[in-house]
Each structure stands twice: as structure tokens, then as C-alpha cells.
């Protein structure tokens, strides 16, 4: 990589986007530009005195390849209906709107976008949120329309991405601030209550005058009220829901403890004139809420719940009676004629009427090489046109296509099953039962001698046994694991996924784009010299094939003019046949060409070429497995079953079987729906499935599996709905991630043991009626803090050990 950069230094680099100027560079204002688009942006910025744009970032500019996009592609932004759904606020004078701008990548971007008012005086404020890649703009809508605003942004290289799902009922993005408010209140009250309780801890009460003591107790009581009636409300609600559905979750014993602590403290203060345990209530909720907050690690930039609507265009050009019109996607009907331009996504399964179709299906399959489609053939939704304009005839409505049909399946309607209990909830039922038994046992024992002692021990047991340490071990362990994963570019949707990952025993992989990197494949030609004519014949044949290997050869041939061949036929599993100048040309497997089975030692495919039955040579295509995949497959086989689900034909089967071993079950030719069904049948057999996939064709399988992991080369780029998003570079570390998830379960169990020890000490003191405020004040925070420290240290230690053992650079 470095070598390359050094070499490029003496070539001309574009002043705007920093890319190498390929053809002759354009010169303007004594600076070089690679394309008219970049020069235009520079001109605009320069005219408006915004050239300090180039001072804040190293390569601020975005290569402006909008030239061949149509001028009227923003026309749908004139529809009042669309405008209403996009804007945040509007009065008679001004409009406020937020845009997602994926191109934001450096300080210069922030600077330019916040200086939009200098480009157009009708914009009077723009604020960038760098982390979320958003810009909030306020503008005068009488003088500047929304369409013009978007066009201005697109012109300077920051085209907002406006997606179809934004047009549907948009749930206002609300940050969960409530939890932070509750935490702040609990912290405030707890801190102050500690001050007022200090004399109690050290038995200095006698030194104080009686009226001070009374005041302190009353202040504590007053301060505990916001904690009980505001900060703790989530726990009451959760406990109530769980009880009313006939289960006992972790929050039930917590609520039991809070209520008994509060009621008993009230009784002590009012009846006995003692001080109660209000500070303990405050501390308890403060720590619990910290744990809850800690667990809520979110990745703002990642979207885990995208469906096809997030990727499809908002509006398309339709050819109607009145000529071209831009309509929003849901209005497209079967039989409409659509015009698709370069770089646009095919919104619905349609027939090609006119134009040169080179479709990039990388959204769907992960395969990046464009496929040529003949006139009259079907083009599937989700492909992106890479050549000139096309005319299409819609065959299926956008929501009914080959791909989008997946979203009508049950697993998308029902969501993931909720009955999967977390470890803590499974334990808490038994725990609550034991505590109640001990409490009633103590009550029964003491009631024979002294009723007041009996009541006191009964409540003390409930108070001490309050499982705050127990309740904290789970959020802190999972929260830490989540962070460790995040640092290693493995992002989980929430902490619940860690527990699911820990239980996994069946691993299913997609092939193309997940295990293999299509861009890394290498092609070699071995045999008699290929002249230009033969090359153009081969090009003429392979460019029409959707087969992955044909695409490879097509790319290898480069920009050769394809020759005209007759009678092209593709025989599945064999190859392509055509007639050129009266000769039969075949490209395909050795067996088909009549030279028998040829066994190769290396991992790769051989595609033979014959002219009139005479074999000329072969292409050797080495599929590019991602780094570390082989070893991780070996490790996963020790941890459970490994399956492979591929949408491709099985030309890679033998090679893959050789690399991964016979234990890996392989399935090829799987449609998106079949993938989903396959996972479903595994689930029905009781397997705990982890699906690893990338394209939209895996979306169903990702949804159906217990844990769906989407692999992507750019985490902000594209990923179907999933439970976790993984950077493609770290796929080799998957066994380590799963092992750490399993270890985190052990850490939770270990910290349960720890907190049980505290509970045993506390309860044994309580049943003897020995519980004093000092012990209570020490035991409660101590148990909580030690559990927090234990889980944090353990997870980080385990992660480090796993990392060093396998020689990865775990920072």
C-alpha cells in the first residue's frame, strides 16, 4: 500500500478529490483536476470565498461523478406530500430539515456544510452532526425550494441520501434521555443521603443534638421519595409485566427488595424513631441504573433493522402519456415503463425493453462484477445499472419481487422469538423462591419467642437478599463484552445478542462475499497463445453469462470489443457454447469438453476453451478466500456444526470441500427463500443457529437465525437487517468472538457465586437479628462495586488472553 502511494507522488493528483488524474488533467487557477465535476466544485467554492475548505482536511473533496445522472432526478422533492414527510419543522417563513449525508468524512466537510449560508443567503443556519453524518439545515422556503437545496448539496459533492423508509411513517428519532434523567436523580439523592447518614455510620449520633438527628432523618426520607417514585419506575413496570405473564424475571426480587426496604424504613422512622435505610435504597438504584446505562451501548451510525426499502430509490422516472414523469416508488404498477439511468437501482423485477444493460448485483449477491442482460430478459430488483439508460417494463410490483418477497415471510412479520430466557432471568425465579423460603423460615422460627424480632428478621432477610449484585453482574459483563467486540469491529445490536451467541452450536455461512472476496479472485490463462480474435470471441460469449466464473473471465479480458457470435447457449453445470465463423466454440468444464476429469492440487477452478473440439487451453481462476477463513472454519468445526449455504452453482464445491474438510455440509443453488427455509429446519431440530452472510439474498436467513451476522467491508455502507454487523477483515476471528461470548457466560456465573456469598453472609446476620445500619451500608455498596470490578476485569483479561494466544493485535 505504501509503495503504491510513493509511486503516485510524481503523478498528477486532483486538487479537489486527491485522486490520480487518469487522462490528461484539467488545469484551472494553476491547479490540476481529474474531471470537470471536481473543477466545478472548486470554481463554486472559490467564487464564494470558501477555498479554506481545502485547509482543514487532507483529501476533503468527493469525486464528483454526478455528471451522467439526470437533472430531474430530484423532481419528486416538489411534491408537497414528500416534503411534509421529510421536514422537521415549518412555519410561514422558514423550514428546518435534517439530511443524512454519507459523504461527510473530515473536518473540511463540517466546515463547508456549516458555511452553506455563504453559498446561498436563503440558508441561514446549518449544523453538522459528524458522528451521525447528519446535517440540520434551516432555510427560507419562499426563496429556496427543497429541491434547489438538495441540488445545491449534490452540486458541491454532498448529496443527501433520502430513502424510501423516510417516506413511510417516520418514528421521530428519540434518544433515550429518560434513563439518564433517572440516573441523575438517583445519583443526586444518593450523594446527599450519604452525607446525612454519615453520623449514623460511625455511631456519632449521640454527639449530635436530637433535633439535628430528626432533621437528617426527615431529609433522608424526603430525598428517597424521588428515587422510589421516579428513578425506580422502570423496575416496577418490568416486574409487573413479567408477573402478569406468569414469569419471574430479575426485576421481581429487586422490586421486592426496594419495597420491603422502603416500608421497613418508614416503619423504623415513624414507629421506632430510628433512622431507616434510605441511603441504601438510593445507592442500590444508583448502581442498578448505572448498570442499565452501561448495557445500552449503541452504535448510532449502524442500522440493524434495514429492509429493502432502505436501499431502493425514493422515486423513479416513468414514461407515461405525458412523457417522462418522476413518481414515488410505491406508485409503480405492473406494466409501467420505467427509465433507469446510469448508477440507478432497479426497483422492481422487470423486462429489458431497450438499452445496454450491465447490472451490478452486489447488493443482492455480493458479486461485484456486472452482468450483461439481453433484450427481453428479466432483470431482478436490487441490481444497479452500470451503463447507459434503460427502458424497462415492470413485471412485478416493487414489494412483490424476487427479493422483496422475502419480507413477506413469517419471520419478518413475527420478529425474533422472545421466549429465549437470559441467564439472569432463569436464575432469578429460583433465587426469589429460596429467599422467600428463608424469610418465612426465619419468621416461623422467631414468632414462637418474639413477634417484633420475627417481623424484623423477616424484612431484614428480604432487604439483604435483594439481588443487586446479582442484577448488576449481567449488564456489566455483557456491556463490557459488547465494548470489547466493538473495538474489534464486531458490532452487536444489543447485549442480548451476546447471550445468544454464547449458546450457539451451528454455524452457517454464505459463500460469495462472506467467505470469499470476489474482488480478490485471480485469473490466469494457460495454454496456446490467445490472439485478439479469440479473446474477442470469448468476450462475446462470457459477457452474457450470469455465472460467477464467466464474470471473472470477462473482467480479465478487459476492454476488448466483443465479437459477434451466433446461437449462444448456456448449459448449467457444463459451460457456454456458441458458433463463430462456422466453428463451434465451447467454454466450460474439462469433462464436458471430453478431456476427462482433471484433478488439480491447488484451490481453484479450470475453465477450458475449445474451438471445433480442439482444446486450446484453460483459465485458472483462484477464488479469493478471505484472510483467516480456513483456520476459523477448523476451529468452528470443533465448536459445533458448520454449514455452507450458497446461491451460486456448485463449481466451487470440490475445492471448498478440500479446504474445509468433509464435516462441512454444503448446499448450493439456494434461493433467498430456500436459505430461510434451511435455517428454519435447523432451528426446528433444536439447533442454535448463527448465520453469517452479506447480501440482501441472505436477509431472510439472517432474520430467521438465532443470531444473524452481516459481513460488510464498510460498516457504514450496506448491510441487511441483522443482529450484528461484522467488518469483513475480522471474519477470521469469529471463533474467538464466540469463545469470548461463551466465556462471558462463565463470568456471569462466577459473579453470581460471588454475590451469593455476600447474600449468605448478609442473610446469616439478618436471621440472627444482628443487622445494623453500618453493616448494611458497607455490605450493599461493597457487593455491588466488587461485582462491577470483577466482571470488568475478567472480561478484559479474557479478551486479552484470547488475543495474545492467537497472535492478533488486540489493542
Amino acid at each position: 500500500m505504501n509503495m503504491k502511494e510513493v509511486k503516485q507522488k510524481d503523478r498528477t493528483l486532483c486538487f479537489h478529490c486527491g485522486e490520480q488524474c487518469l487522462d490528461e488533467s484539467l488545469r484551472y487557477d494553476e491547479k490540476d483536476f481529474c474531471c470537470p465535476g471536481c473543477m466545478l466544485v472548486y470554481e463554486v467554492l472559490n467564487e464564494n470565498g470558501l477555498s479554506s475548505y481545502y485547509e482543514y482536511g487532507e483529501k476533503p473533496g468527493i469525486k464528483n461523478d454526478n455528471n451522467n445522472k439526470s437533472a430531474n432526478r430530484f423532481d419528486y422533492l416538489e411534491e408537497p406530500e414528500v416534503i411534509q414527510k421529510l421536514i422537521d419543522f415549518q412555519n410561514e417563513k422558514e423550514t428546518h430539515i435534517s439530511f443524512d449525508i454519507p459523504a461527510i468524512h473530515c473536518a473540511s466537510c463540517v466546515w463547508l456544510l456549516e458555511n452553506l449560508h455563504r453559498l446561498n443567503s436563503n440558508i441561514f443556519e446549518s449544523r453538522v452532526d459528524y458522528v451521525k453524518k447528519e446535517v440540520h439545515i434551516k432555510f427560507v422556503h419562499n426563496a429556496l425550494s427543497l429541491k434547489e437545496l438538495v441540488r445545491l448539496l449534490a452540486k458541491i459533492g454532498y448529496e443527501p441520501s433520502i430513502q424510501l423508509d423516510a417516506l413511510e411513517e417516520k418514528p421521530k428519532r428519540r434518544i433515550d434521555r429518560k434513563l439518564i434523567y433517572k440516573l441523575a436523580v438517583a445519583g443526586f439523592c444518593f450523594g446527599n443521603m450519604m452525607f446525612f447518614s454519615l453520623p449514623e455510620y460511625f455511631s456519632e449520633v449521640s454527639l449530635l443534638e436530637e433535633n439535628f438527628r430528626g432533621l437528617f432523618v426527615q431529609l433522608n426520607l424526603a430525598l428517597s421519595l424521588p428515587v422510589i417514585f421516579y428513578s425506580a419506575t422502570d423496575y416496577y413496570r418490568s416486574a409487573w409485566y413479567s408477573l402478569s405473564s406468569g414469569r419471574v424475571n430479575m426485576d421481581v426480587p429487586i422490586v421486592m427488595g426496594i419495597i420491603s426496604l422502603f416500608v421497613y424504613s418508614l416503619y423504623e422512622v415513624i414507629e421506632l424513631g430510628e433512622s431507616g435505610y434510605f441511603d441504601s435504597i438510593g445507592g442500590l438504584l444508583f448502581f442498578l441504573l448505572i448498570g442499565k446505562y452501561f448495557q445500552q451501548k449503541t452504535y448510532d451510525r449502524l442500522a440493524f433493522d434495514r429492509d429493502y426499502k432502505s436501499y431502493f430509490p425514493l422515486a423513479v422516472t416513468r414514461l407515461g402519456n405525458k412523457g417522462e414523469e418522476v413518481v414515488s416508488l410505491p406508485k409503480i404498477k405492473v406494466g409501467d415503463t420505467l427509465k433507469i439511468r446510469h448508477g440507478e437501482l432497479i426497483p422492481a423485477d422487470s423486462l429489458l425493453l431497450e438499452g445496454e444493460a450491465r447490472i451490478d448485483y452486489s447488493f443482492v449477491t455480493g458479486e461485484e462484477v456486472p452482468v450483461f442482460v439481453k433484450k427481453g430478459s428479466l432483470i431482478y430488483a436490487g441490481g444497479r445499472q452500470q451503463a447507459g439508460a434503460l427502458l424497462l417494463n415492470v413485471q412485478k410490483a416493487p414489494s412483490q419481487g424476487y427479493l422483496t418477497d422475502l419480507w413477506n415471510q413469517d419471520s419478518f412479520q413475527l420478529g425474533k422469538p422472545k421466549e429465549l430466557e437470559s441467564l439472569a432471568n432463569a436464575i432469578s425465579g429460583k433465587f426469589t423462591l429460596v429467599v422467600l423460603m428463608v424469610a418465612f423460615g426465619a419468621l416461623a422460627f422467631w414468632i414462637q419467642t418474639d413477634v417484633s424480632v420475627a417481623v424484623k428478621t423477616f424484612t431484614s432477610v428480604l432487604i439483604v437478599a435483594c439481588p443487586c449484585a446479582l442484577a448488576m453482574s449481567t449488564p456489566f459483563t455483557l456491556g463490557n463484552t459488547l465494548r470489547v467486540f466493538g473495538n474489534r469491529k464486531f458490532y452487536l445490536k444489543n447485549s442480548h445478542v451476546v447471550e445468544q451467541l454464547a449458546k450457539a452450536d451451528t454455524y452457517i455461512f454464505d459463500k460469495t462475499g462472506t467467505l470469499t472476496d470476489p474482488a480478490a479472485a485471480t485469473v490466469n490463462y494457460i495454454g496456446f497463445c490467445l490472439d485478439e480474435e479469440n479473446k474477442s470471441v470469448i468476450k462475446g460469449m462470457v459477457q452474457h453469462s450470469m455465472h460467477a466464473l464467466s464474470s471473472r473471465i470477462n473482467v480479465w479480458l478487459g476492454e476488448i470489443k466483443p465479437a459477434y457470435v451466433e446461437g449462444i447457449g448456456e448449459l448449467p453445470g457444463k459451460g457456454i457454447e456458441a458458433i463463430y465463423n462456422g466453428k463451434i466454440v465451447r467454454i466450460g468444464s474439462a469433462k464436458w469438453l471430453g478431456i476427462g476429469n482433471i484433478r488439480t492440487k491447488d484451490f481453484g477452478n479450470r475453465i477450458y476453451i475449445s474451438f471445433d473440439g480442439e482444446v486450446k487451453g484453460y483459465f485458472h481462476i483462484q477464488s479469493g478466500l478471505r484472510k483467516g477463513v480456513e483456520r476459523s472454519m477448523d476451529q468452528l468445526k470443533d465448536m459445533g456444526q458448520v454449514h455452507l449455504l450458497s446461491g451460486d452453482q456448485d463449481h466451487d464445491r470440490e475445492n471448498l470441500q478440500k479446504v474445509f474438510g468433509a464435516a462441512v455440509e454444503m448446499n448450493f443453488n439456494q434461493s433467498p427463500k430456500e436459505k430461510l427455509q434451511y435455517i428454519k429446519s435447523l432451528n426446528d431440530r433444536g439447533n442454535k443457529t448463527v448465520m453469517v452472510g452479506d447480501g440482501l439474498n441472505d436477509a431472510g436467513a439472517l432474520q430467521e437465525s438465532r443470531v444473524g451476522i452481516a459481513v460488510t467491508s464498510q460498516s457504514t455502507h450496506f448491510s441487511p437487517a441483522s443482529d450484528a454487523i461484522m467488518d469483513a477483515d475480522v471474519i477470521g476471528q469469529l471463533p474467538q468472538f464466540i469463545a469470548l461470548a461463551k466465556e462471558s457466560r462463565n463470568v456471569i456465573k462466577a459473579s453470581f457465586v460471588l454475590s451469593f456469598l455476600y447474600n449468605i453472609v448478609g442473610i446469616s446476620l439478618a436471621v440472627q437479628g444482628l443487622l445494623s445500619p453500618v453493616i448494611c451500608a458497607i455490605l450493599m455498596p461493597l457487593s455491588s462495586i466488587s461485582v462491577v470490578v470483577f466482571t470488568t476485569v475478567m472480561i478484559n483479561y479474557l479478551a486479552m488472553r484470547k488475543g495474545s494466544k492467537n497472535n492478533y493485535s488486540w489493542k
Binding site: 470565498g49 479554506s52 419543522f89 463540517v110 456549516e114 458522528v131 441523575a184 443534638e209 439535628f212
Partner: protein, 61 residues
């Protein structure tokens, strides 16, 4: 010793005003984006004469 009554009052008022200020900052969204301001502060104030002073918005979000 009576001064303690006053001190307790003062400390409570002080602490709750901090709590109030925190709530207000939270509501205004000061904690929503903790990165961009660190970039923004490094920008030079523009000397360009063409600059239009941003008009204050009657309603802030």
C-alpha cells in the same frame, strides 16, 4: 452549631441547581453530539466581507 441548618440548606440548593442545569443542558441536546464541537472550535472565524450574518431563528429546536 445552628449554622449547620443554613449550610444544609445552602448545600441542598446548590446541588439541586446543578441537577437542574444538567437537565436543561440535556434537554437542549448538549450531550447529543460530543464530537463535532471539538472540530468546529478549530475553524478560523471568516474574514470574508460577503459573509451574511446568520439571522437568529425565532424557534430553536
Amino acid at each position: 452549631m445552628e449554622v449547620i441548618f443554613i449550610l444544609i440548606g445552602v448545600s441542598l440548593v446548590l446541588a439541586s441547581s446543578f441537577l437542574f442545569l444538567f437537565f436543561r443542558a440535556m434537554k437542549k441536546g448538549q450531550f447529543d453530539d460530543t464530537y463535532t464541537p471539538s472540530v468546529r472550535i478549530l475553524f478560523d472565524s471568516h474574514k470574508n466581507k460577503k459573509t451574511v450574518k446568520p439571522k437568529p431563528s425565532p424557534k430553536t429546536k
